[in-house]
Every structure is written in structure tokens, then in C-alpha cells.
């Protein structure tokens, strides 16, 4: 047993991190927001150029992918990253171009009380995830209603008024596999966003002074930061474990380990998001400061591939 990154994995993750810092600096998010959250196709192709969507065809594992997506989550890169990655991985010929960044593939899950489609206007293809099938539709053909004020301005949304039709392109085992991998890749992004929220809050707590000392010197603030780290590290362990199991390098029950990852990563991201805001005081409640962006993204990602409570229900059902 050696449940630690290899040197290659470390290099892969570090490489993606510096790429993200250079190509998607966190300061550029406000610009994307003012454009209504539109995706930049050149940037999307640069992501593909880094091999983000074609990882699995290039010999990388799910575990490697989790390390990569952790960094994409840390950088809050907007767009249907998971869907395009899974399309490039599993629907390679039907959706060729997903791997090279030529085709942006979105996915929406049929949900209660409403079905929401993210980034609709930028999608080339839309996948509709039902209980046991995935259908392919032309995004322009779906009757929708735009949401004028999305919770996360980096994630524009439309309400789907109907989700029938389309061509079924996956069912059975592939859908089960897709859900598992989607949940784990999303969990990786939640873990990344959690750590980014921690870094931002810790940096702020070191610099911000009240009562003649850095607020990080107050135990109340230290404890909030430490609690964030505990949640994020536990979620990270669960997420890596799920990925390793999916790669066939572990013996844990697959559904169970995936649900644990998605449940804990969802909780961690929401917790780190709101606690990061609290550490920033009034600043945390402003648009300018990124603390709130981590929380908003945490809300969005929690709704992907089953929220934390749905995975808790699934775990309970399996016990």
C-alpha cells in the first residue's frame, strides 16, 4: 500500500497548477462575470492543449484526472469541464472534438423541482442525464427560459422547459460508470475550491490587523481556519480513495466510496466557502473579494451528480 502521489503525479498536478495560475488568474474572474459568464473558446482550447479533456486517452488514470481537476476547481475555471472530459473519455467517436476543445459538451441532469442547464449559449452539444440513460440533443433545440440573475455569475443557467427527445447514446453500465466518475471528478473540484478558500482566508488573516495584531493571532480565527483544513483534508482523502478504487487499485465498494467522496467534498466546499467569508468580516460579503466566489461555486458543484444529502441517503440505503 502506498496511498501518496508519485513523483509523476506531483509533476502533473504542479504543471496544471502553474498553467491555471498563468492562463486563468483568479483576478480575471470578474471580467468573465461582466461578460455574463460567457466561455472563452481560445481559453477552452488551451485547456484541451494541456490535455485536460483527453487525459484518459493519453494514458492517465482517474486518479491522475482527480489531481488535475482539483487544480481546475482551485482556479474556479468556469464551464462544463466534467461533461466535456467525460464525453471525450466515453463518447469519443460520437462527440469527437470534445478532446481537442473544438466541441464544448454540456450535461444537465433531470432534477426536481426544476432542471437547469448551465452555460447553454456556449454549448455545441448537450447531454441529458436521466436515471438510466444519456441522450444527446442540440442545445438550440431545447425549450428553455433564461435565469436573469444566476446565483453564481460564473455559471449562467437556463431552466429547461422540456427534456424529452434526443438520441439515447448511453445506457446501463456506461451511465453507472459516468455517474461515478462525474461524482468523483466533481468532488475533486470541490476539494480544490476548499483549499483555495483556505489559502485566501489564511493569507487575509495574516495581513489584516485589528486590536494591534493580525486577526489570525486570535484563537477564534485560528480555529475557524483549522476546522476548514480538517474538513478539506478528510474530503481529499475520501476523494483520492474513490478515484483509486475506480481505477481498480482498491477493494472498497465502488458506489460507497464514490458517495463518501461526493458527500464529504460537498460539505467541505460549502463549509470552507462560508467560513472563508466569516474570516474576511465585512470584506467577505463584498463582490470584490473572491471569498464569496468559492462559496457560490460550492453551491453549484454540490448540485452536480447528487448533492451531499442524496449521497448520504445512498450510503444509508447500502448499509
Amino acid at each position: 500500500m502506498d496511498f501518496w502521489r508519485t513523483e509523476d503525479q506531483e509533476a502533473l498536478q504542479d504543471g496544471i497548477r502553474s498553467f491555471c495560475e498563468g492562463r486563468f488568474p483568479i483576478e480575471s474572474l470578474q471580467l468573465i462575470e461582466s461578460s455574463g459568464g460567457r466561455l472563452d473558446r481560445t481559453a477552452w482550447k488551451d485547456l484541451a492543449g494541456m490535455g485536460v479533456f483527453s487525459l484518459r486517452h493519453d494514458g492517465f488514470s482517474i486518479t491522475d484526472s482527480v489531481l488535475v481537476f482539483e487544480e481546475l476547481g482551485r482556479a474556479l475555471i468556469p464551464g462544463p469541464l466534467t461533461a466535456t472530459y467525460l464525453a471525450a473519455t466515453h463518447l469519443t467517436s460520437a462527440l469527437s472534438g470534445a478532446d481537442t476543445g473544438e466541441m464544448i459538451v454540456g450535461l444537465c441532469e433531470i432534477a426536481e423541482p426544476v432542471t437547469m442547464i448551465e452555460h447553454l449559449v456556449d454549448l455545441d452539444r448537450l447531454l441529458i442525464l436521466g436515471p438510466n440513460t444519456i441522450s444527446l440533443v442540440d442545445p438550440k433545440s431545447v425549450p428553455t427560459q433564461v435565469v436573469s440573475r444566476p446565483l453564481d455569475p460564473l455559471t449562467p443557467v437556463h431552466v429547461a422547459l422540456a427534456t424529452n427527445g434526443g438520441e439515447i447514446i448511453a445506457s446501463g453500465d456506461l451511465v453507472r460508470k459516468w455517474r461515478r466518475e462525474g461524482a468523483v471528478i466533481t468532488a475533486a473540484m470541490q476539494v480544490g475550491a476548499s483549499f483555495a478558500a483556505i489559502d485566501l482566508a489564511v493569507e487575509y488573516a495574516k495581513g489584516r490587523e485589528q486590536f494591534g495584531r493580525p486577526i489570525g493571532a486570535f484563537q477564534a480565527v485560528k480555529h475557524m481556519a483549522a476546522d476548514m483544513l480538517v474538513k478539506a483534508e478528510v474530503a481529499r482523502a475520501a476523494t483520492y480513495a474513490a478515484a483509486v478504487n475506480l481505477d481498480g487499485n482498491g477493494d472498497d465498494n465502488l458506489d460507497r466510496s464514490v458517495s463518501i467522496a461526493k458527500m464529504l467534498a460537498g460539505d467541505a466546499a460549502l463549509f470552507c466557502g462560508k467560513t472563508g467569508i466569516q474570516i474576511h468580516g465585512g470584506m467577505g460579503f463584498t463582490w470584490e473579494v473572491n471569498a464569496q466566489r468559492y462559496w457560490k461555486r460550492a453551491v453549484v458543484l454540490d448540485t452536480h451528480y447528487g448533492n451531499s444529502e442524496m449521497h448520504a441517503d445512498a450510503l444509508a440505503d447500502s448499509m
Binding site: 426536481e112 423541482p113 448551465e118 431552466v159 485589528q210 462560508k274 468580516g281 464569496q292
Partner: protein, 395 residues
């Protein structure tokens, strides 16, 4: 101890109900959250109606134009107006609950006669200019400088988080008048008209994208010495009088709204499908909603205790801090729960078709500010631990 209302209190409630029933139909619908002009008109228009009916300044002394009601009657007033969905105190908050009561206790007769009627009639909106970029939790370290020059103070510096500064007529403001003495002893409380030369008011965006608070910059702004309330350098004491009004009844309307949010959430759960049945059949969710609902009732009881204590002694003790701490946590939990129930519907800040989701999402975001504004939860816990429990200070 007795939770029943006296005959006099019941009569007060009955009169108020009758008046509300007769009056509310003529009140225009609430304007959009970010339409500041319309909101000002709506809030102050309602205040004028209260004034004409003798309900303005419900808890203010009669001699200053208030109704002189007891704290219990004040509670009844807040309860009835909220239950009957009357307009909320809104922008009149600082005037009616902070600045006005401070003026009642601390201001000169001229200042009182000049300012109190304007607040009661809804003619003047006030804001609170206490916090600064470097003085939040450590308010007493504030640096916005006022230098005496003849009959004026000349103010240079900055305030931040001043809610409604861009719409207000006056500001209750704290300035630094002495830099040589310990920080609490060099602060002065001023009445600041918001239209003076040298002021620059810049709205700040909240995380929701609205502009309810501002930064205010001062470049040699001249304020007459006659606008000072209390003595020079005695402003910290005057401000503490203000802050003591912040923990009595300030959250009652909010809390009643939270009770309604919880009831709405239960209704919503009965309509949302989960696992081939409704979310309401989900024991975990039911239990969480029940906890919140029960705790809110308990906070209502705590409020009655606090108000009773204030009625007897004039002050709210630790119960005020306990309330704010418990309430801040509860709202975070309620917010988290509502987003999980809404699931994908929580990605919109507005209602979606017939789903009344907007208020839950807005309420979730608002909850993030409750443990920060008016004294953060960390500072509140320090106060409880040090002042009430007598634990040693760490600084």
C-alpha cells in the same frame, strides 16, 4: 413569570390590528430590492402613516413625540406588523432604532427639536458611519480625523460599510478628535448632514450584486461644532448608548420572517419530489426543519425574557448576545438546508415559475452577513466569555 398579555396589552394589540387591517390595503406593493429611490419613498411613506396614526417611535418617550409604549407593547407592535405583512422598518432603521434613541438621551434641546420630528415623520433617513477600513471589530481604533477650526470641525478620512449612505440625509458619525490619548478617549459623536462639500459617497457591491452599503470619503468636510452630541472626546460613551439599542428588539422582525421562511420551507418540501415521494417524507429533512422551527420558538421566548429584563432594569443582559449568536447560527443552518432542498433551483436568485425560490436563496445569502454585521460572532463569543463568564482576557 407569566407569558399571558395583560388586558391593556391585549387592547393595544386589538387597536393595532384594527388599524393595520384598515390601512394596509392602501399601501402600494413593495418595490424591487435594488430600486433605491422607490424603496426610500415606500419606507418613509409607511413611516408617515405610522406617524399620523400615533404609532411612530413606538418605544420613544412621549415628550419627544413617541408613543411611550412599554417594551412589551413594542414587541406586540413588531409582531403584529410583521404578521400582517406591513412594511418593514427598512431604511428608517438607524433613525428610529439607533440615532434617534441616542439623540433622545444625549442631544441638546435644540438638536432634539431639530432632528427627532424628522425621523418620526419619515422626512429624514439616517445612516450609521462608525466602521472604517481599519476599524471594524476594533471600532475604537477609528482614525477618521476631525480637527477643530473655529465653529467647525474639519473632517478628513474614510468610513466604510455605511448602509444606505447614498440615500440618507444624516449620518450618526464617530470621528477622532484626539490622537494623543488612549483610543476610547479621543472619539467624538457628530450629526453629519450627507450633502456637505468634500464628501464622496461610493456604493460598494455586496456579494449578491446589490449596493446597499457604501464607502464614504471625507476631504476637509466642515461640520459645525453645534452638530456634536455629548462632549468632545466623549463619543465612545455616547456610541455605547447607541449600541445598547442594537440588541433588544432589533432582530424581532427578522426573526418573525425566519419563522415564515421555515414554514415555507416545510410547504415546499411537501411539493418537491424526492425518492418517488415528497421531500417531506424524508425523516432527516423533517427533523432538521423541526429543529429550526422549535429553536425559533425558543428564541422568541428568549426575546420575551430579554424584553422583560429590559422592562424591569432598563437593560438587556447576556441574553442579547446569546440571541445574536444563536440566531446567526440558526440562519446559517436554515440557509444551508433550504439550498439543499431547492437543489438545482438554488442556482437562481429569482423565483422560478411558480416556485417561490428567490426568497430562500436571498435569505441564504443574507444569513452569511448576520454573523458579521453589528459585531461578529467571534467578538460576541469573546464578550460572553469575558464579561459574563468572567474568563480572563487574551489581550
Amino acid at each position: 413569570m407569566d407569558l399571558r398579555y395583560t388586558d391593556q396589552e391585549q387592547a393595544f394589540r386589538a387597536d393595532l390590528r384594527a388599524w393595520l387591517a384598515a390601512t394596509l390595503p392602501s399601501v402600494a406593493p413593495e418595490p424591487h430590492r435594488n430600486d433605491w429611490r422607490a424603496r426610500r419613498a415606500w419606507d418613509t411613506g409607511w413611516q408617515r402613516m405610522l406617524f399620523d396614526a400615533g404609532y411612530a417611535g413606538i418605544n420613544w418617550p412621549k415628550e419627544y413625540g413617541g408613543r411611550g409604549a412599554t417594551p412589551t407593547e413594542h414587541l406586540i407592535f413588531l409582531e403584529e406588523t410583521e404578521r400582517m405583512r406591513a412594511p418593514y422598518v427598512g431604511m428608517n432603521f438607524v433613525g428610529l432604532l439607533h440615532a434617534g434613541p441616542t439623540l433622545v438621551v444625549e442631544a441638546s434641546p435644540e438638536q432634539k427639536s431639530h432632528h427627532l420630528p424628522g425621523i418620526l415623520k419619515g422626512e429624514h433617513v439616517w445612516c450609521q458611519g462608525f466602521s472604517e477600513p481599519n476599524a471594524g471589530s476594533d471600532l475604537a481604533s477609528l482614525q477618521c480625523r476631525a480637527i477643530r477650526d473655529g465653529d467647525d470641525y474639519v473632517i478628513t478620512g474614510q468610513k466604510i460599510w455605511t448602509s444606505f449612505a447614498h440615500i440618507a440625509d444624516y449620518c450618526e458619525m464617530l470621528v477622532r478628535t484626539d490622537t494623543e490619548v488612549p483610543k476610547h478617549r479621543g472619539i467624538t459623536w457628530l450629526i453629519l448632514p450627507m450633502n456637505l462639500k468634500g464628501m464622496d459617497i461610493r456604493p460598494l457591491r455586496t456579494m449578491e450584486g446589490s449596493t446597499e452599503f457604501c464607502e464614504v470619503f471625507f476631504d476637509e468636510v466642515r461640520v459645525p461644532v453645534a452638530n456634536r452630541v455629548g462632549d468632545e472626546n466623549d463619543g465612545w460613551r455616547v456610541a455605547m448608548v447607541t449600541l445598547s439599542f442594537e440588541r433588544g428588539t432589533a432582530f424581532v422582525s427578522e426573526m418573525l420572517q425566519s419563522m415564515e421562511l421555515v414554514r415555507d420551507l416545510a410547504d415546499l418540501a411537501k411539493k418537491v419530489t424526492r425518492h418517488q415521494s415528497t421531500a417531506w417524507e424524508d425523516t432527516g429533512l423533517r427533523r432538521d426543519i423541526a429543529h429550526l422551527s422549535g429553536e425559533l420558538d425558543a428564541l422568541w421566548s428568549l426575546t420575551k425574557r430579554n424584553i422583560s429584563q429590559a422592562q424591569r432594569t432598563g437593560f438587556v443582559g447576556v441574553g442579547g448576545n446569546v440571541f445574536k449568536l444563536a440566531y446567526s447560527d440558526l440562519r446559517q443552518q436554515l440557509g444551508d438546508l433550504s439550498l439543499r432542498l431547492l437543489d438545482r433551483a438554488s442556482l437562481s436568485l429569482d423565483d422560478i415559475d411558480e416556485w417561490p425560490t428567490g426568497k430562500h436563496v436571498h435569505g441564504r445569502i443574507h444569513a452569511l452577513s448576520i454573523g458579521i454585521a453589528a459585531g461578529t460572532s467571534q467578538v460576541q463569543r469573546n464578550i460572553v466569555a469575558e464579561r459574563t463568564l468572567g474568563l480572563p482576557k487574551d489581550r
